[in-house]
C-alpha cells in the first residue's frame, strides 16, 4: 500500500513536471512568435521611413517633413502611450499614412518597438 502510494505520487509529480515543462516551452514559443511577427511587420511597413534601427532615418526619411520619429529616445516613449501609438498607426499622422493592421498586429509591432528600441 505504501509502495503504491509512492508510485502514485511519483507519477503525479512526473506528470506535473512534464506539464510545467511543456507549458513553459509553449509560453516561450508564443512570445518568440509575437516578437518575430512584430519585427516582420515593422521591417516591412515601418522601416522604410523609421529605419530598421528605429532611428527615423529610413530610405524615405529625407523627403518627409516633419521627419519620422526616432524610437530610441526617452522623450518619444515619455509622450507616446500605447493608445496614442495605436491611434497614429490606424489613422496616420501628417505625411505618415494610415496602416490597415489588426489589433493583434499593432500590439505585436508596439511590443517589438519597446523591446528593440525603448531605452
Amino acid at each position: 500500500m505504501e509502495r503504491e502510494d509512492f508510485l502514485m505520487k511519483k507519477t503525479v509529480v512526473l506528470f506535473l513536471a512534464a506539464g510545467l515543462l511543456v507549458t513553459g516551452f509553449w509560453g516561450a514559443g508564443t512570445g518568440k512568435c509575437a516578437d518575430e511577427r512584430g519585427k516582420t511587420i515593422f521591417d516591412g511597413k515601418c522601416a522604410m521611413c523609421h529605419g530598421t534601427d528605429g532611428s527615423g532615418n529610413g530610405p524615405a526619411a529625407a523627403a518627409l517633413n516633419p521627419g519620422p520619429a526616432d524610437f530610441n529616445t526617452a522623450s518619444f516613449w515619455g509622450k507616446m502611450s500605447d493608445a496614442r501609438i495605436t491611434e497614429v498607426i490606424e489613422n496616420g499622422h501628417g505625411s505618415m499614412p494610415a496602416f490597415t493592421l489588426s489589433s493583434g498586429e499593432i500590439r505585436a509591432v508596439i511590443n517589438y518597438m519597446k523591446e528593440a528600441f525603448k531605452p
Binding site: M48, P59, A60, A62, A63, N91, S95, M96, P97
Partner: protein
C-alpha cells in the same frame, strides 16, 4: 457522396476563392508603386487617383521611394489598368454624330481604355510615370501621360527641401494636387458622350501634343514653386513624348508654365492654395507657320483634405481665366473677334467611408465655362455647335463609388447640364436641348 452538379459548384467556388485570394493578396497582384514600396495603395491614395500627403511626397521625390536599397528596381515597376464603361445620354445622338463605330445611345465600351505603365524607380534618383494606352474611340495605341523625374532631397535654412527636374508631355500631369486639370475631378469621363465646345488650352488641349522640361522645389513641406518650358512634340527632343498621337495642335516657340502653391498639414488635415498658368502660342488650325494665336492662362486653385481611419473628406476647386489673342486666326476669318476671354470654374466635394468590405463614396461637383460670344468660333452645328455663338456651359457632375478592394473602383456618374454651348434649349440650332446631353456613365476601373 456528392452529385456531379454539387461537385461542379464546389469546384467553381474553390476556383473563385483561389482567384479572390490571389486578387486580395497584396504580394501577388498590386500596382507597381505599391510593389516598390511594400505599402498598400491606401498609403498614397485615398481613392485613386486622389493622393494622400505621403503620395504627394512619393511623387515629388521622383517615384523612387523604395523598400529596396538597391539603386535599381527589380522586378521592373510595371503595372496595368483596364476600364470598361456604359454610356447613356438622355436623348439619342442624331445619325452621323456619334463617334465612328458607336451607336447613337446605350454604348458599352469594353475596353474603354487599357493601359500599361512603367511607374517607379529607374535608377538611383531617377524615376518615371509612363503610361501607354489603347483607347477604343481613338482606336489606337499611344504614349499617354508621361512624367520622368530626377529628384533630390537637401536642406535649405535648416529645413527639408525637395528639388527636381520633370520631363513630361501634359501640363499639370506633374502636379500633386487633384485641383489641376490632368488629375482633377471627375477623374474619368465617357469618351462617346457630347462635350462642350470650349475649354482653356491648359485644361487638356495639349496632352501628348507638347513636351516640357521643368524644375521644381518644395521647401519645408510648405512652399512649392515650378517653372516648366513646353514646346511642340512635332519634332526635336520632345518628339518621343507624342508617340502614337497625331499632332493637331501646333505649338509655336516655347510655352512657359508656372506653378506656385502653399500647403499646410496639421494632424489629419491638409490645406493648399495655389496658382498655375501658361502662355501658349498655337498656329491656326491646319497651319504650321505664319502668325500664331496666343493663349494666356492664369489659374487659381485650392484643396482641403481630411483623412482618418474610416472617414475621408476632400474639396477641390479651380478657376482658369484665359485671354485668347487671335493674332493668326482673326485675319484668316476663323474668329469673329480679335480677342476673347474664357473662364472655367470647377468645385467638387468628395466623401469616402472605409469599412470592412471596402470603401464607399460620393462626389458632388459643379462646373461652369463662360466667355465672349463669337459666332464664327462657336458656330451652329448639330450636337457640337452653338446657335447663339456662346460657349457658356454649366451644370453638375454627381458620382458614387464602390471600391471593394484598393485596386478596383466602380463608379456611377451622372452629368447634368443647365446650359450647353450657350443655351438651355435648341442650343445647337438643330433642336437639341442642354438636358438632352445629360449623361449616365458607369465605369469599372481595375489596376494590376
Amino acid at each position: 457522396m456528392f452529385g456531379k452538379p454539387l461537385r461542379c459548384v464546389l469546384l467553381a467556388l474553390c476556383a473563385g476563392g483561389i482567384l479572390a485570394l490571389l486578387t486580395f493578396n497584396e504580394a501577388k497582384a498590386v500596382p507597381s508603386f505599391a510593389r516598390q514600396t511594400g505599402m498598400s495603395c491606401s498609403a498614397c491614395h485615398t481613392a485613386f487617383p486622389e493622393l494622400t500627403p505621403f503620395g504627394r511626397t512619393f511623387k515629388l521625390t521622383g517615384y523612387t521611394i523604395s523598400k529596396s536599397k538597391k539603386p535599381w528596381q527589380f522586378p521592373p515597376p510595371v503595372a496595368a489598368m483596364l476600364q470598361g464603361s456604359y454610356t447613356r445620354t438622355d436623348k439619342n445622338l442624331p445619325p452621323g454624330t456619334a463617334p465612328p463605330d458607336y451607336k447613337g445611345n446605350d454604348n458599352i465600351n469594353v475596353p474603354q481604355q487599357a493601359s500599361v505603365f512603367y511607374a517607379g524607380k529607374i535608377l538611383y534618383k531617377l524615376g518615371a510615370f509612363v503610361q501607354i494606352t489603347y483607347d477604343d474611340v481613338f482606336d489606337g495605341i499611344f504614349l499617354d501621360n508621361t512624367d520622368v523625374r530626377l529628384a533630390h532631397t537637401a536642406k535649405l535654412f535648416g529645413k527639408p527641401l525637395i528639388v527636381g527636374l520633370t520631363y513630361n508631355n501634359n501640363p499639370t500631369v506633374q502636379d500633386v494636387w487633384n485641383s489641376t486639370p490632368v488629375w482633377g475631378y471627375p477623374w474619368a469621363t465617357s469618351n462617346v458622350a457630347p462635350t462642350p465646345a470650349a475649354g482653356a488650352v491648359i485644361d487638356g488641349a495639349l496632352g501628348s501634343q507638347v513636351g516640357g522640361l521643368g524644375v521644381y522645389a518644395l521647401w519645408n513641406n510648405l512652399l512649392y514653386a515650378e517653372i516648366t518650358f513646353y514646346r511642340t512634340a512635332l519634332n526635336g527632343y520632345t518628339q518621343p513624348l507624342s508617340a502614337g498621337t497625331p499632332i493637331d495642335t501646333n505649338v509655336a516657340y516655347v510655352a512657359p508654365y508656372w506653378r506656385v502653391y502653399l500647403q499646410h498639414q496639421r494632424g489629419k488635415h491638409t490645406i493648399a492654395f495655389g496658382t498655375y498658368g501658361m502662355v501658349t502660342r498655337i498656329f491656326p488650325e491646319g497651319e504650321t507657320r505664319g502668325t500664331p494665336d496666343r493663349f494666356t492662362d492664369i489659374a487659381l486653385d485650392a484643396t482641403y483634405q481630411y483623412i482618418s481611419k474610416k472617414h475621408i473628406f476632400s474639396v477641390q476647386t479651380t478657376w482658369i481665366h484665359e485671354i485668347q489673342d487671335w493674332f493668326g486666326s482673326y485675319p484668316l476669318g476663323a474668329t469673329a473677334n480679335s480677342q476673347n476671354t474664357l473662364d472655367t470654374f470647377r468645385a467638387n466635394f468628395n466623401y469616402y467611408y472605409r469599412f470592412r468590405y471596402g470603401m464607399l463614396g460620393g462626389t458632388f461637383g459643379y462646373f461652369s465655362t463662360t466667355g465672349n460670344t463669337d459666332p464664327v468660333l462657336y458656330a451652329p452645328d448639330q450636337v457640337d455647335g452653338s446657335r447663339t455663338g456662346s460657349p457658356n456651359t454649366d451644370g453638375f457632375i454627381l458620382q458614387a463609388y464602390y471600391l471593394p478592394w484598393e485596386r478596383t473602383k466602380f463608379t456611377v456618374q451622372y452629368v447634368i447640364y443647365n446650359r450647353f454651348n450657350g443655351a438651355s434649349s435648341n442650343y445647337d440650332g438643330f433642336g437639341r436641348s442642354a438636358s438632352d446631353n445629360n449623361t449616365l456613365y458607369v465605369l469599372a476601373w481595375i489596376a494590376f
